[in-house]
């Protein structure tokens, strides 16, 4: 951790000037360096938080789950043309699952890019990351098929154009 000092600041308030009056900058920083062990001990010393974090997380997630359940919905149409709705997050989760099933891929975001209408397939834009050594050309047809099957079997709608965007390459 650097111990560089900023240049003297003429706007220093009087209290700071008093401190500097007692100690030169160099002496002060030498003294601070000698306190390094105390600072390290302070960092390692537990705060009074103790084990309270689990209760806090439970409270946070309880509120978040309630809000998520009331989140936005996507209107869909069955093959018979009957309308129904599904939470948008659930629809996206199914598409993500199809991506995650493909070795070396990790889903990021899912967007429905077409208007839902009776008899009309649903277009998607899916962003993902790909492990080193994989090829978009190799997995793209297989992944599009996998997503389409899952859409049809679980969500009950046909997939149309599926735009795949590789945002990043990750190590596995």
């Amino acid at each position: 951790m650097g111990m560089t000092q900023p240049p003297s600041d003429p706007r220093r308030v009087p209290e700071e000037q008093d401190i500097l009056g007692d100690l030169s900058e160099a002496q002060a920083m030498e003294s601070y360096a000698r306190l390094r062990g105390v600072v390290d001990d302070y960092r390692r010393t537990e705060t009074v938080a103790g084990d309270a974090v689990s209760g806090l997380k439970a409270r946070i997630m309880s509120i978040v789950e309630d809000e998520a359940a009331r989140g936005p919905s996507t209107e869909l149409f069955s093959s018979a043309g009957l309308p129904y709705v599904m939470t948008t997050s659930s629809l996206r989760a199914q598409v993500r699952a199809a991506v995650d099933e493909e070795p070396g891929l990790r889903a990021r975001r899912v967007r429905v890019t077409s208007e839902s209408a009776p008899g009309r397939p649903l277009d998607l834009r899916v962003t993902l990351t790909m492990a080193v050594g994989h090829s978009l050309h190799e997995f793209a047809p297989r992944l599009r098929g996998r997503i389409a099957v899952r859409m049809e079997q679980i969500i009950g709608v046909r997939a149309g154009h599926i735009d795949l965007v590789v945002e990043d390459v990750h190590d596995e």
Binding site: M29, M61, S89, R108, R109
Partner: protein, 194 residues
Amino acid sequence: MSGQAVGTGDPYAGLEEVTLVSRAQDGDLVAFEQLVDRYESRLLGLCIRMLRNRVDAEDIVQDTFLTTWRRLDSLQNPAAFKSWIFRLASNACLDFLRRREVRRTDAVDPGDMVEQSATGPSVEDRAETSAAVRELDRVLETLSPEQRIAWLLYEIEDQSYTEIADVLGVTEGSVRGRIHRARLAIVEGMKGWA
């Protein structure tokens, strides 16, 4: 929450932060929970060291996570999540301390003071906590909130001057100045220990 963890195995194990944030932006609760796991203790520790009151610190951390959940879609760059969440928590701490100071200043009736939340040491009062650490904790309380948060982000959170400037919304030079002045005050306050 496991209802959304569809697929084989644990698709969240080892996911990089940008992916977790992106998924959380799409309403993925498991991804958001992973982010809570990553930052909860760090934010709570920071807020306790700032406010010296666990209940107030927990309130701020809870509000911080709820705000991130509700505004996640406004985050244009998922890679900036860490900076964003520390900014929300830091600003909340500084606002809280300003309000507490105003209440303290405005309170003319001693009875009004009861309404204020009590403060104490920020570190565990255990036998293994050294006297020097307790003294440092006491000196830190005398710093201005702006100096204290900068010092804590640098020394405890190990953030760079650039990262701290981003979190606090000030220039890097200002961060350097605050940390430098905090160090001078620590040296002065701990003369017997250096």
